[in-house]
């Protein structure tokens, strides 16, 4: 017996794909920005931080519209992508970009906190042992902030999974391409007789969010317990 209809399964699978790709693509840039915020002092840092947090503060529709202006078929970057055959507007890759942008601030905040919790004296010790900045980051900073990183990834994934406003504005609702779980849910709610499907997708969305929250809480809790023991 299938718990979900074919269309619902497609939307769920697409949501997983879009969220996973979005978060993975977001991770290197978010790590770099978080490291800069945690470790460096520079002119305009508050402004830089504010810009990074914009997708969290702006109405998602605005973010989606900005993405459309920049990455749409006639957008500044979109037209170049189209010419190169890499168009992302109205495709699942566009949905992944929207998910990445919306999850990005959460990832930056979580990673910044994780990097700040790493004892800088250990990084200094690594430097005296001949390690350059990259080696210090990958051999000391990153392993010691792994719990915060996993917690951040879980929260960012949940945020990307639940993304709606920016996605529908940027890439619309195309079954199998851009109709992610929240969009499919919205369409079911708007369709007479769709209550059953809406309830099923709601349960799935709540389960995914709970699991992500649980992972994040466990990581942060265990990290806190270790710090208290040290």
């Amino acid at each position: 017996m299938n718990l979900l209809t074919h269309a619902e399964t497609v939307a769920l699978a697409l949501s997983f794909k879009v969220s996973l790709v979005g978060v993975v693509c977001s991770l290197p840039v978010a790590s770099g920005c978080a490291w800069l915020l945690a470790r460096k002092h520079f002119f305009g840092k508050p402004l830089f931080e504010g810009l990074l947090l914009l997708p969290l503060i702006l109405p998602p529709v605005v973010t989606g519209y900005v993405l459309l202006i920049v990455f749409g078929h006639h957008g500044a970057i979109g037209r170049w992508l189209d010419a190169a055959g890499l168009s992302i507007a109205f495709r699942w890759t566009g949905a992944a970009l929207a998910a990445a942008v919306m999850a990005f601030p959460l990832l930056v905040v979580a990673l910044r906190n994780a990097f700040e919790s790493v004892d800088r004296r250990l990084e200094n010790a690594a430097a005296t042992l001949g390690a350059g900045p990259w080696r210090i980051f990958f051999s000391v900073t990153l392993p010691l902030s792994l719990r915060g990183l996993v917690a951040g990834l879980a929260l960012a994934f949940a945020r990307a999974f639940g993304e709606f406003g920016a996605t529908i504005t940027f890439v619309s609702s195309i079954p199998g391409q851009t109709r992610t779980l929240p969009i499919a849910l919205y369409e079911l709610i708007s369709t007479p007789g769709g209550e059953g499907g809406a309830l099923r997708l709601t349960l799935v969305a709540v389960t995914v969010a709970l699991l992500a929250g649980l992972i994040a809480a466990l990581m942060l809790l265990r990290g806190g317990t270790r710090e208290a023991e040290a």
Binding site: T128, G130, G132
Partner: protein, 234 residues
């Protein structure tokens, strides 16, 4: 040859220190807060002096006039911090190997492990070690970097009596085994007498005396039942 001429400001505290020493082991001695650890951090490249010159064994590490300021990673110094700073996520073996040059041989590793009696600890993590063991691993890690000079910051601080004796014995062994220029920071006269050939007395960020270890031992002598300012931490 150790050449120090540095000036640095940290808040209200100012350090101005100039000395030259040809001793194999030089101790920077003085009460807490006198600037000796700041000096060590400046030599290690972890604190940037306002101006001055730092050279050890003809390795120019810092020269404000010439615009030289080698990064800590390129100073080729072995640093043993007061708080050891072992990497908690790595085993003792991984900690020891962290700074080893690529061309270092297994013999070098085994030699240091044997000298510091670390064989039984190699698979443990720092959280499973005693204070004395942690300090020995930190010394081994600094030695395996194969540095041209060793910097020791209060190597016996916060150790109980037995661990102090244990680590001190190993440091004496190192002094015999390795022809390594050493700069030791301490406020403990017994530690200085045991390990140093020459002593720089520092007070309030200034050098007040540069004397050989024997003269230091005589001047630091504490008569039974008496008190002497030299050993009192500030």
């Amino acid at each position: 040859m150790i050449e120090l001429d540095l000036a640095l400001q940290r808040g209200e505290f100012s350090l101005e220190l100039a000395l030259q020493s040809s001793a194999r082991a030089l101790a920077l001695f003085g009460p807490s807060g006198c600037g000796k650890t700041s000096t060590l951090l400046a030599i290690a490249g972890l604190l940037r002096p306002e101006h001055g010159r730092i050279a050890i064994n003809n390795h120019l590490l810092f020269d404000s006039r010439a615009g030289v300021d080698l990064a800590a990673a390129r100073r080729d110094l072995g640093v043993v911090f007061q708080d050891a700073r072992l990497f908690p996520h790595l085993t003792v073996r991984e900690n020891l190997r962290y700074g080893m040059p690529r061309d270092a041989t297994a013999q070098t590793f085994d030699g240091v492990v044997q000298l510091l009696q670390l064989s039984a600890l190699l698979k443990r993590r720092p959280g499973q070690l005693s204070g004395g063991q942690i300090r020995r691993v930190a010394i081994g890690r600094a030695l395996l970097r194969q540095p041209h000079a060793l910097l020791l910051d209060e190597p016996l601080a916060n150790l109980h009596r037995e661990a102090r004796v244990e680590v001190l014995e190993h440091l004496r062994g190192l002094k015999r085994e390795f022809a390594l220029t050493t700069i030791l920071v301490s406020h403990q006269p017994d530690e200085v007498i045991a390990l140093a050939d020459q002593v720089a007395r520092i007070e309030d960020g200034r050098l007040v005396a540069l004397e050989d270890a024997h003269a230091f031992e005589v001047s630091s002598f504490v008569p039974p039942g008496g008190a002497h300012a030299a050993g009192a931490p500030g």
